[in-house]
């Protein structure tokens, strides 16, 4: 689904990513661990094609297409979706309208989608205006549900979300990815009959792993991917020894 080869990225004059190689096969969920400032968000922004992230070497391939220099919106239309950690407010644009825009030409029942996310009361509010951390994440998930991407990039989905809402969020991520066991049994058939989608999930704390199933974990440390193995195992190591010790084995 997503293949990153020898990727080098600069922001301003500073090299943020050095020689990143990553492969997320179709249907797999990969977890990206790393301390603050290691380049996790930069990697996600580069995959999506945001301005300010200059690729100096390497290649990004998505669904077999070279997207290294493809405009942002074309990558979105090709099937990449992002859950932003701190999205901007868009004044005068209601969340309802935003969700419709995300759906493009498809018809979506915004009320139905939002009731799953308990977001009904915020639909007429301007996008991200005066929302709590958890509400922002639910707004982002609502948009992704309408967008229906083939691969989602989730930037710290659990940050700022209280314990009660994190389960709801995890469930909505599973819905978008066609994975997991749903609370509502009538949906199970649909879930297993549809192909799972791919995901790259940035997490700092690993809490989200209690709610979504991960196929693999990677550690990004000082701009380099240093480790690739079972996500829960990596999380245990990090808890036990910290990042520096954890990546020490790969040096």
């Amino acid at each position: 689904m997503l293949l990153i080869e020898e990727l080098k990225v600069e922001v301003g004059d500073k090299e943020i990513l050095q020689n990143v190689n990553l492969h997320v096969p179709p249907g797999e969920t990969h977890i990206l661990f790393g301390p603050n400032g290691s380049g996790k968000t930069s990697l996600m922004m580069t995959i999506m094609g945001f301005s300010g992230y200059r690729i100096t070497r390497g290649k990004i391939t998505f669904k077999g297409e070279d997207v290294t220099h493809m405009p942002l919106h074309e990558r979105a239309r090709l099937g990449i979706g992002v859950l932003f950690q701190r999205p901007p407010t868009i004044n005068g644009l209601t969340t309802r309208r935003m969700v419709e825009l995300c759906a493009g030409d498809r018809c979506v029942d915004v009320d139905q989608l939002s009731s799953h996310l308990q977001f009904d009361n915020f639909l007429e509010r301007d996008v991200n205006h005066n929302l709590s951390g958890g509400e922002i994440k639910r707004s982002e998930m609502l948009q992704l549900m309408a967008q229906e991407p083939d691969m989602v990039l989730l930037d710290e989905p659990e940050s700022g979300v209280d314990l009660e809402s994190i389960a709801l969020l995890g469930e909505s991520i599973n819905t978008v990815l066609n994975r997991g066991i749903k609370r509502n049994p009538s949906c199970q058939k649909g879930i297993i009959s549809e192909k799972p989608k791919s995901a790259l999930v940035i997490t700092h704390t690993g809490h989200i792993l209690d709610y979504i199933t991960a196929d693999r974990g990677q550690v990004l440390y000082k701009g380099q991917l240093r480790c690739s193995r079972n996500a829960r195992e990596i999380l245990k190591w990090i808890h036990e020894y910290g990042y520096e010790e954890c990546v020490g084995c790969t040096v």
């Binding site: 999205p87 868009i90 825009l101």
Partner: protein
């Protein structure tokens, strides 16, 4: 000496006060209006389905071409006729404004009385809006009007006031003197939609007096290029009176707008809010706002936001002045460009860059205008879409 490009100076001798065509056919019913007229009027919010409006006044150059009133408890008339019918009205003319204020008021004071008189009677709540249209059809015409609006005690009225010019005009001048009286506990909503020509000079002079517990809501919308517009209405608020002034301005190439609001909070408990959204796309906007807290226990907020999409000038001048302790006033002004993060956020959802910019611009102009009838809200939305296409 002023140059021909000096948009701040009006040379009165450039304009003709005499209408060449004195007699425009009177329009008996709005539905029977000629299509060319209807098209012009509709753009500035005039509804041709009379059942949707409580009354209508239309003046073309200096001729009243339509005046009707379908609701009890209101008066809708030409001002000259109203002064004959109601001798007491004389005391309301040049009461809030002085004819000696400037050249424009002097010019208006010397001219025959044109314009409208609208009154909502005591305790009458008019559900449907009333509408007025002042239109300039003759080239180089100088239209001078003096409008009086009175919302009597505990009455409620919404007036949609459109102003426009015929498309062929090379230039024209509109001097509009308006004096509004909002009596005790009354509510006056005044939504003004302007569509002037590119070389038309517009000089409204407006003053509003709001008595105890009264509410004045003004919505001013000017999306199309106007040669030169200078408007700085003054509102005087008494005890517990409220004023909300919203303006949405777009200045394309060649447009010059100097628009603001002054609100004097003169009674305890008075509240005022001035909100302006300005977009410069090649023209000039001077966006003013001035709250004057003259007594204890008043509150006001001023919000002045501007976007510059093409080189021009956006000059925000928010002012607050407090004369005594116990006034609470604040302002917020921002002038700039569209945040790149917002554009890319929308692009990450699949919108092209152009669509993302349009969406943000439309949102920026989308000030929630209280009490705008649904059909007019839809028209405004379409006008904003058209405008933003012109700007890109």
């Amino acid at each position: 000496m002023h140059s021909v490009n000096d948009k701040t100076i009006v040379n009165l001798s450039d304009f003709n006060s005499r209408a060449e065509k004195n007699e425009y056919a009177y329009i008996d019913s709005l539905e029977a209006m000629e299509k060319t007229d209807a098209d012009e009027f509709v753009k500035v919010g005039i509804e041709t389905d009379a059942s949707l409006r409580a009354g209508t006044f239309i003046q073309k150059d200096n001729a009243v071409v339509h005046c009707s009133n379908s609701s009890d408890g209101t008066d809708v008339m030409g001002i000259a006729g109203a002064l004959e019918a109601f001798p007491w009205l004389e005391s309301h003319v040049w009461k809030l404004l002085s004819p000696e204020k400037d050249d424009m008021t002097r010019e208006a004071a010397q001219s025959p009385l044109q314009g409208f008189f609208i009154r909502s009677h005591k305790d009458v709540k008019i559900e449907k809006p009333l509408q007025t249209c002042l239109h300039i059809a003759q080239d180089k015409f100088s239209q001078k009007v003096h409008n009086i609006v009175i919302a009597e005690e505990n009455s409620e009225v919404h007036i949609i006031a459109g102003c426009s010019t015929s498309p062929h005009l090379t230039t024209g001048l509109h001097i509009g003197v308006s004096e509004f009286y909002v009596k005790k506990g009354a509510t006056l909503k005044y939504t003004m939609i302007h569509d002037w020509g590119e070389n038309v000079f517009v000089r409204p002079r407006t003053a509003v007096h709001v008595e105890e517990g009264g509410v004045f809501i003004s919505n001013y919308i000017s999306l199309k290029p106007v040669g030169s517009l200078e408007s700085n209405p003054v509102t005087y608020l008494e005890k517990n009176a409220t004023a909300t002034m919203n303006s949405i301005l777009v200045a394309g190439e060649g447009a010059h707008m100097d628009v603001g609001s002054v609100v004097e909070l003169n009674g305890e408990g008075a509240r005022a809010e001035i909100i302006s959204r300005a977009i410069v796309a090649g023209g000039t906007i001077i966006s003013r706002g001035h709250l004057k807290g003259n007594v204890h226990g008043v509150k006001g907020h001023l919000e002045c936001k501007g976007l510059i999409l093409k080189d021009g000038l956006l000059h925000a001048i928010p002012e607050l002045s407090g004369a005594v302790p116990g006034v609470e006033m604040s302002h917020e002004a921002a002038v700039g460009k569209i945040d790149r993060r917002e554009i890319e956020y929308l692009m990450a959802r699949g919108l092209t860059e152009d669509d993302a910019v349009s969406t943000i611009v439309r949102g920026f102009l989308n000030v929630d205008i209280e009490g705008l009838p649904e059909e007019l809200a839809q028209k405004m939305d379409q006008a904003v879409k058209d405008t933003e296409q012109d700007m890109m």
